[in-house]
């Protein structure tokens, strides 16, 4: 029954896309059929626990939403300055790709990545230093709680006055944004190794560095990866928003604010699409690295296949 609904949905969907340019009302009716059938069939797919179903359900869900977006924007003739259809955005993306890659190079290579590397390393280093002083640690928790709510991206104009309009000022913003998550997670991660484990290392006459390398840093890895993942998305956001304050003529943030000035919404969406792609790819790479390095940790072992209550 649900399989039949799925087949009907696919046929209705293809038909709707085919005639939306000629007969919008008929296409809207067909798309309604497609939506009902599609979601009904997907609900059946969602019940299946197998690995392909777990991947397919969100993928088909997205396809269905994109389809409805396409047919509804075209069927109701929604003006492009409100919401361009996915097809138009895709075409703009493809056509602008060389330009967009240059923007990515400016934003990611010259701002986000240097800032990410410097800010994260400084944060990790500061965390490791503070770890040696229990007295300072006490005060750092409330202070870093406060730091985490500060809208740090507001320092962008100051950094532009100090370092100019180029990538350096954006990298400086990213350094400030990525410092605190790295710092807080390093302190918390180094606290993971228990008293008894540390005492054991002491009884082995292990030096500070040996205890760090063999016990405390491995135990801190889940926290360090949490910091890396947070910082990966924060550095992209920081670099893009800092570009809203002023840039040379490249960069994702520059592209977005320039194209919005021309009301070229399809180009804006294309720039957002490439930012989203960069963000998800970097997150996926870090998540893959985390799985290969911390495969032994409970957070990686359980939860993925276990059914939820």
């Amino acid at each position: 029954m649900k399989r039949l609904a799925g087949i009907v949905a696919v046929v209705a969907g293809i038909a709707a896309l085919a005639i939306v340019g000629i007969a919008p009302p008929a296409a809207l009716v067909l798309s309604a059929v497609c939506a009902v059938g599609g979601f009904y069939a997907l609900a059946g797919l969602a019940e299946i626990e197998s690995r392909p179903a777990v991947v397919l359900t969100p993928a088909l869900f997205a396809v269905l939403v994109l389809f409805l977006w396409e047919v509804l924007t075209r069927g109701f003739a929604i003006p492009m300055i409100l919401l361009p259809s996915p097809g138009i955005i895709g075409a703009a993306f493809w056509q602008m790709l060389p330009e967009l890659l240059q923007d990515v190079r400016q934003t990611v290579l010259y701002a986000a990545i240097p800032g990410f590397l410097i800010g994260t390393s400084l944060g990790l280093l500061a965390g490791a230093l503070v770890d040696r002083s229990p007295f300072l640690q006490q005060g750092l928790l409330p202070l870093s709680n406060f730091a985490s709510v500060i809208p740090i991206v507001g320092v962008a104009p100051i950094m532009i006055m100090w370092f100019g309009f180029g990538g350096e000022s954006k990298a400086a913003v990213v350094i400030l944004i990525t410092f605190f998550p790295a710092f807080v997670n390093m302190v918390a991660g180094l606290g993971q190794a228990s008293r008894i484990e540390r005492d054991l290392m002491t009884s082995y006459a292990a030096t500070y560095w040996q205890t760090m390398r063999k016990l405390r840093l491995p135990a801190a890895l889940p926290f360090l990866f949490a910091a890396l993942k947070i910082n990966a998305s924060l550095s992209l956001i920081g670099a893009i928003v800092a570009e809203f304050f002023g840039t040379p003529v490249h960069g994702i943030g520059f592209r977005i604010s320039a194209e919005i000035g021309h009301l070229a919404l399809d180009h804006v969406w294309a720039a957002i699409l490439i930012a989203a792609l960069v963000g998800s790819i970097s997150y996926a790479l870090l998540a893959a690295a985390e799985r290969s390095v911390t495969f032994w940790h409970p957070s990686q072992l359980s939860g993925r296949t276990r059914p939820r209550p």
Binding site: F39, A43, L45, A46, E47, V54, T57, P58, L60, F61, I81, L82, L83, F135, L136, Q137, Q138, G139, L140, L143, F146, S148, V149, I150, P151, V153, G154, V155, A156, P157, I158, I160, M161, K229, A232, S233, L236, I237, I240, V241, F244, F245, G246, G253, I256, S257, I260, L263, L265, V268, W269, A271, I272, A275, A276, G279, S280, Y283, R308, P309
Partner: protein, 290 residues
């Protein structure tokens, strides 16, 4: 060593923490002061006083601590609250948008999480996308939201609130998904044996069990909502709000105004999150038991 031990054992914990905070702040102030002394050229007509003359440079590269303190104080209390030069006025404009966005995000987030917890389709089909969207720079859409809503006839508060909400609903959704599933299956089965309906299970078990997860999520959401409101004021040349103030300071090279605005933005965010913490503490039976 003996002294350290007695210090540790006789001084109450909060005082030791306060001393620790004070020490850290002093270190930061010391570094800042040295940097301000080194960075700024001396003004041509130095004012008499015991502080270094270049701490009062009118166009500083790095404003000195007392300069920032004076600028912030003047910005907050030097003008009547209704004056467009008062930072309280601008903070109010930003906070209004942020709170509207925060409320919107809380409602959307809780509604979405409730739907996800009750529907396998949304759980399997939508939740993965909500999680993926965490790694996407949503804030990049801010200029577009402002312009599109402006074209549709909405200006002022609403676009900023929408930007705030688009950032802030993620932590609420994900926190509440966890929270609404926090009730164990044994407890849910117990309510089933009482012949409880779905809405009764929600009201009497799932919702109370989710409250300890709600407040940490709300605090993250509040901080994001304020960042969203500030960034939402950047693209359109808004006249009021902390973001607009930052942009004006940026265009005119007013370093002191930038610093004062940032201090006020941080205070606004800190106070709003602090209020949430107080509300959380006022609900003792909902405190996290983990």
């Amino acid at each position: 060593m003996n002294n350290v031990m007695t210090f540790r054992h006789t001084v109450p914990g909060w005082l030791r923490q306060a001393a620790s905070i004070a020490v850290i702040l002093c270190i930061v102030l010391a570094i800042w002061s040295v940097a301000a002394t080194l960075a700024n050229p001396a003004p041509s007509d130095p004012e008499p006083g015991w502080l270094p003359a270049n701490w009062w440079n009118d166009r500083p590269i790095l404003p000195s601590p007392p300069q920032v303190a004076v600028a912030t104080w003047n910005g907050l209390f030097g003008y009547p609250v209704s004056s467009p030069r008062s930072l309280i006025f601008h903070a109010g404009v930003t906070l209004e948008a942020a709170l509207a966005g925060f409320a919107l995000a809380t409602i959307i987030g809780i509604a979405l999480a409730t739907a996800i917890v009750h529907s396998r389709l949304l759980d399997k089909g939508l939740l993965p996308w909500v999680i993926v969207s965490q790694s996407i720079p949503v804030l990049a859409t801010a200029p577009m939201i402002v312009v599109v809503l402006g074209n549709a006839g909405f200006t002022g508060l609403l676009p900023k609130a929408v930007i705030s909400a688009s950032l802030a609903f993620f932590p609420v959704t994900i926190g509440m998904c966890k929270g609404l599933r926090a009730a164990g299956s044994a407890q849910i089965e117990l309510l089933h044996t009482y012949n409880a309906s779905g809405s009764q299970i929600f009201r009497k078990l799932r919702w109370p069990a989710a409250i300890p997860y709600l407040f940490p999520a709300l605090k993250v959401a509040m901080a994001l909502a304020i960042t969203g409101a500030i960034v939402g004021e950047l693209p359109t040349g808004a006249q009021a709000g902390l973001g607009a103030r930052l942009l004006i300071a940026s265009y005119n090279g007013l370093m002191l105004l930038m610093w004062a605005t940032l201090v006020v933005a941080s205070l606004t965010a800190g106070l709003s999150v602090g209020v949430l913490t107080l509300i959380e503490r006022a609900l003792p039976r909902f405190r996290a038991s983990q």
